[in-house]
Symmetry: C2
Subunit: 354 residues, 2 copies
Amino acid sequence: MELSERKKKILRAVVESYIQTAEPVGSKALAQMAGLKVSSATIRNELADLTELGYLEQPHTSAGRVPSPQGYRLYVNELMEEQRLSLEETRQINDALHLKMRELDKVIDQAGRMVSQLTNYPAFALTEGARRLTIRRFDLILVDSASFIAVVMTDSSVVKNKLFRLPAELSEPQLQLLTTLLNTAFVGKTLDQLTPELMRVAEHAAGSSYGLISLVVSFAMEVLDGLENGAVYTAGASHILDHPEYQDVGKAQKLMSYLSEDRSLAQALALPALDGDDTKILIGPENVAEELKDTSVVLASYDIGDGMKGVIGVVGPTRMDYAKVAAKLSYVADGLSKLFGQPELPPSAPEKEE
Amino acid sequence: MELSERKKKILRAVVESYIQTAEPVGSKALAQMAGLKVSSATIRNELADLTELGYLEQPHTSAGRVPSPQGYRLYVNELMEEQRLSLEETRQINDALHLKMRELDKVIDQAGRMVSQLTNYPAFALTEGARRLTIRRFDLILVDSASFIAVVMTDSSVVKNKLFRLPAELSEPQLQLLTTLLNTAFVGKTLDQLTPELMRVAEHAAGSSYGLISLVVSFAMEVLDGLENGAVYTAGASHILDHPEYQDVGKAQKLMSYLSEDRSLAQALALPALDGDDTKILIGPENVAEELKDTSVVLASYDIGDGMKGVIGVVGPTRMDYAKVAAKLSYVADGLSKLFGQPELPPSAPEKEE
DNA sequence: TTTAGCACTCAGGGACAATGAGTGCTAAAC
DNA sequence: GTTTAGCACTCATTGTCCCTGAGTGCTAAA
């Protein structure tokens, strides 16, 4: 059954007032506020209906009304107006995105922090675990006679390096040999294919190289493993305490410690994020995770390139300014997608310092 | 004036009881507890003395005693027994340290998290900003015709890389040329010496290379800059809420938001950390930062190599189990020092999977 | 269908007394 | 001189009672 226009108007007023004040809304306040020219008594009747239909709740008999999850859902689906970001805000976001070193994890971490700061809610950023990644290339760079850097590159152009120090001399030709060996034997392989046997064979072919092959390949495996499991960055957990629903330390603590366990968050959110379109809002009990049953989560997904995806989002009380948060998140997500897709800089304009 | 043996014994009992229970300690409880065969009345007299001398405080007339910062100080300096870690604990720490990729910042971040988990207090790990770092070497690795990886290595064997995508073709010889150019012109230079002029000159020598030199050098500058400023990693801020002194949400929030501003923490702690020996304990008002006046900080420093140093520490209420925390911290710090000093693995024992 | 009026409910807050842990002091005992 | 028992005193904490006021639901008139 469709709600009457007036009921919708009232529901919207309740939600928006409650979002602002965190106080139950009474009929009298609504009568003045909402652009309706009816008395508080009329509103009371409507409120009673809305409560019966499950859109509103009453903390106790003599209190005003508070939106139920179902009420928020209706608000988000139909009543909410899209929020535009101010120029100031978009500028701030753009600046922040372009600032730092463009290393995959750094950028994503950074984006999470930014979102948290922007919205005043705890935020997280995660990369979907990519499946079946392979190694694309090895490079070994001699540093001095007893150490070298291994650079490993995988699909999605992820590059990682590590410095190896050895208790023995190492010559440039030896390193060359190792490099070609690594590249012929291990490039294009997935994580499972990097078996101990394969490593032993290669090791043997390389002659007495102090088990260097194993070392470097183990490192490569770590890298692949890390990427396949996805990464989770959380930021701004302390913002929880900003909001009156978490004045109760016990509650706050529960949520916080949930947020700081990376694994759980990733799992809880992987599913809803996968299908959805651009942004997604999960209200209270719509969350799968028990710990999030009375919080809301807003998600936006972005493209990393090569088919990899990521998600950024915020967590907060169900009383959340969904319109604003969703707008900000989706703007940041778009920014990230562009950032990862884009070449370094236009060739025509070499940089000038000022 | 030196305290009598008995007074010390009583003070110690008060501190240790209070550390455990967070409740003011009364004379009766002490009479039973401390290995003293005197009545509660005697203890009361002693308590009165200790209070007068400033080692104890009374929240209100009809309450027990609580150690003052000065009392904690005496306890830490003279009364505290060194705590030994259990085998289990040392194993846990060692495992964790050796687990992950050995990238400078990853390890340090990881160490911070571990400490926080180990002690149940918020922890931080920071690297002292190294002065006058120089670039030791550049390498450029071609990925495909329109992208390459730049690997920059600095003093202290820090290695960073970044992927550059270009909207134009690039050949292996071109890249070779660039590499030698970068290495001849910029190696051994400090951050200040990487001036725009120098970049322009080099750019010119390279011919029309799309401003690639600037790009790569800018990246190198970012790296140097990052290292010189030092980095701060905080972890486990949510542990604050575990402790009864932060049941007051306002207090908890203040401390938390202080902890999440990286800069301030680094500054507040840089000074005391610089001189000190191995571990250092700052009790309540001994902290310089206003926000930390009623918290304590325990610090331990470690060597990164090449003269660079770092600090790990925890923050908590003045009622903190100093003995345990100090022991754990110093163990982890030692572990880190060893880790950074050590070669990759003994040459005789190539790794085996199991 | 809307509105005015009225009785009813109930959380929040202030006043007040009871409780009890812990103190300081004094005077006796060692 | 030190230790101890005894006792009056202090004061945070807890629970009870009551009042207040915001907000409701219902009824009857407009």
